[in-house]
């Protein structure tokens, strides 16, 4: 059976915990052996783990990069060692495409775009929004922000971003920041949270302040997020499934290991919009 190495950025966040669950299930299904390493959010550690995987001569390496730039030298090393690489979950910089077999996973930029489209639609192209960012420097935080801000500028120039602060993926921090914002800006029309946790944190604070007519949009479709959409606390989110994410990466890795030809370079998992109307069709996965 082929051996597939996987290096993860950090298993202490719920999304990746769910990812690993799906990964193990898929491995059983395909009958492949896997080595799972956790970089604990340290890019240097991830580089070492890449070396460990190269040394143990796995058939394919699946990389979920802690830092999509810092991983590049390691990708090159693996490429030079003749090991095909599937990038998963976070797409490395363009300059690294030549070292990759393919990318399989969500499109963080596109998620930001979708959130912006939903926001523009909900606010009818006009209003004041605030943004709760993820931890500075992390891939989703960088690209979701980019996707959101660029799209808003393009499609709804009358929407103004009043403030944008990192909440480090922590709900407590999101709640605190939002509590302060509702005082400073009594007329916030919309909130964009880089993920559902932050969005729900903001919704809590808004609710506590007695604000009801506010459009809060998250990303991810976590259990908390979907529940909040159902109850109307969140206007909407888009669902990024860790199960799909892991399965897709596994599927491509197994295909490569079995010597099959890969046609495309980008394989994106679907990121369906979730709103009150369709929320019942989705099951939370993290």
């Amino acid at each position: 059976a082929p051996v597939i190495g996987l290096t993860m950025p950090g298993l202490n966040v719920p999304y990746f915990a769910s990812y690993i669950g799906a990964w193990d299930a898929a491995a059983k299904e395909y009958g492949v052996e896997t080595i799972v390493l956790d970089a604990q959010w340290d890019p240097a550690k991830q580089a070492s783990q890449m070396e460990d995987l190269i040394a143990s001569n796995v058939d394919v390496i699946v990389v979920v990069a802690t830092d999509t730039q810092a991983i590049i030298p390691s990708l090159e090393k693996a490429f030079n060692a003749g090991i095909p690489i599937v990038a998963s979950n976070a797409a490395p910089d363009e300059s690294a495409y030549k070292f990759l077999a393919c990318y399989a996973g969500p499109d963080d930029y596109q998620e930001g775009v979708i959130a912006a489209e939903m926001m523009a639609a909900a606010l009818e192209g006009k209003g004041d929004v605030v943004i709760l960012e993820g931890a500075p420097g992390t891939h989703p935080a960088v690209y979701r922000q980019k996707g959101f801000v660029e799209t808003i500028e393009k499609i709804a120039p009358e929407i103004k971003v009043l403030a944008s602060q990192p909440a480090n993926w922590q709900k407590a921090m999101a709640t605190s920041i939002m509590e302060n914002w509702v005082l400073k800006y009594p007329n916030i029309d919309g909130v964009f949270g880089h993920d559902d946790t932050l969005a729900v944190g903001a919704a809590d604070a808004a609710k506590a302040a007695g604000i009801t007519d506010i459009v809060i949009i998250g990303i991810g479709g976590s259990g908390e997020g979907l529940a909040a959409v159902k109850s109307g606390d969140l206007y909407g989110t888009n669902l990024q499934s860790p199960v799909e994410d892991a399965k897709l990466a596994m599927e491509k890795a197994v295909a490569i290991a079995n010597g099959e030809e890969i046609e495309d370079f980008f394989y994106y998992i679907p990121i369906p919009k979730v709103t009150m109307e369709n929320v019942d069709q989705f099951e939370p996965e993290w």
Binding site: N12, V13, P136, Q165, K171, A172, N180
Partner: protein, 326 residues
């Protein structure tokens, strides 16, 4: 004879007393200064709702800092409180099915046990507190992850449990009431109980305290257990407020908590400090973060200013005290 000359040279006018207080408590002055600056540059800053916001936001770090005060005065340090916060949070949410009273009880017991473990290692086995609590920090965080399997624990925001973090008595949020109550109770314990005296003595000179018949090991044990307890209470407040728990939610809290205590003016070498000062330290950070958000300062610059202010506030405190001695 010497005393009398001292008293003669000291005129006790009202102004002088005021100056004395200001010099002795530079950190209070710094806090007041922050308040004045805040009210000048932001019109919502002094609104009652914002004040309660600040109090609520300071309450979790504040409650935990109260426990940490005992450990630091006793001459030790506890780096594991952040992990204890994480573990107790996932437990508080995860055990909600077991009924309110039982889940709260278990959370408190787990917090105390985590503290007792530290206390046992530091107080009775006499291990270096810094490394040992770094070790338990890793252990307790791992247990939180294993228990939650890394998943986000979701609670029911409508349950009775959420009163702890979300409820109000009149206009006052319950976390603030807990914070104030803890401050008063533990102020009394620190200043007027045998345990409090022993903590000071142990921090002042553990050998001498031992030779005076104080059980220094037991004192340390209790101080750590207390820190575990306050971390558990902090976790109850936080998880109830958020109605959910991320398994690594407490990461980094240890430094916030220790910083709040030290900003209040406790010497890391032990033997000095008070709950009041700790409370001021915790408030200081909350006021600061609040202001930064109200002013919409970009995150990187928030950090730069925060770093500078930490240093300057303590500096002001030191200069005041030195001026007092002249």
């Amino acid at each position: 004879m010497i005393q009398t000359t001292y008293q003669e040279t000291k005129k006790t006018t009202g102004l002088r007393i005021l100056m004395d207080i200001l010099k002795r408590h530079g950190i209070f002055v710094a806090l007041i200064a922050l308040f004045i600056v805040g009210s000048l540059i932001s019109d919502v800053f002094l609104s009652p709702r914002n004040i309660f916001n600040i109090l609520r936001q300071s309450s979790i770090v504040g409650i935990m800092a109260i426990g940490m005060t005992f450990v630091l005065i006793g001459g030790d340090i506890d780096l594991s409180v952040g992990s204890t916060l994480s573990l107790c949070m996932v437990l508080a949410i995860g055990l909600q099915q077991q009924g309110l009273a039982l889940s709260i009880l278990i959370v408190l017991i787990v917090g105390i046990l985590a503290g007792l473990l530290n206390g046992l290692l530091v107080g009775l086995f006499k291990a270096n507190a810094f490394i040992v609590t770094l070790g338990t920090m890793s252990i307790v965080q791992a247990i939180a992850l294993i228990y939650s399997k890394g998943y986000h624990m979701l609670g029911d925001p409508e349950s009775a449990f959420s009163i702890i973090g979300r409820g109000m008595i009149g206009p006052v949020p319950i976390p603030v009431i807990i914070f104030i109550a803890f401050s008063i109770v533990f102020h009394i314990i620190l200043n007027n109980s045998k345990f409090g005296y022993s903590v000071y003595a142990t921090g002042g000179n553990a050998k001498a305290a031992w030779a005076s018949g104080i059980h220094t090991g037991l004192t340390k044990l209790l101080a750590f257990a207390l820190t575990g307890f306050t971390a558990a209470v902090g976790a109850l407040v936080m998880s109830s407020r958020l109605a959910s728990a991320q398994p690594s939610a407490g990461q980094g809290y240890e430094l916030d908590v220790i910083a709040a205590v030290i900003l209040g003016g406790i010497s890391l070498l032990g033997g000095r400090g008070s709950i009041l000062r700790t409370v001021v330290g915790a408030l200081f950070f909350a006021v600061f973060s609040n202001l930064m958000i109200l002013l919409n300062v970009a995150y990187p610059f928030q950090l730069v200013i925060k770093g500078a202010i930490i240093i300057c506030a303590v500096w002001a405190d030191i200069i005041g005290r030195r001026a007092l001695q002249q």
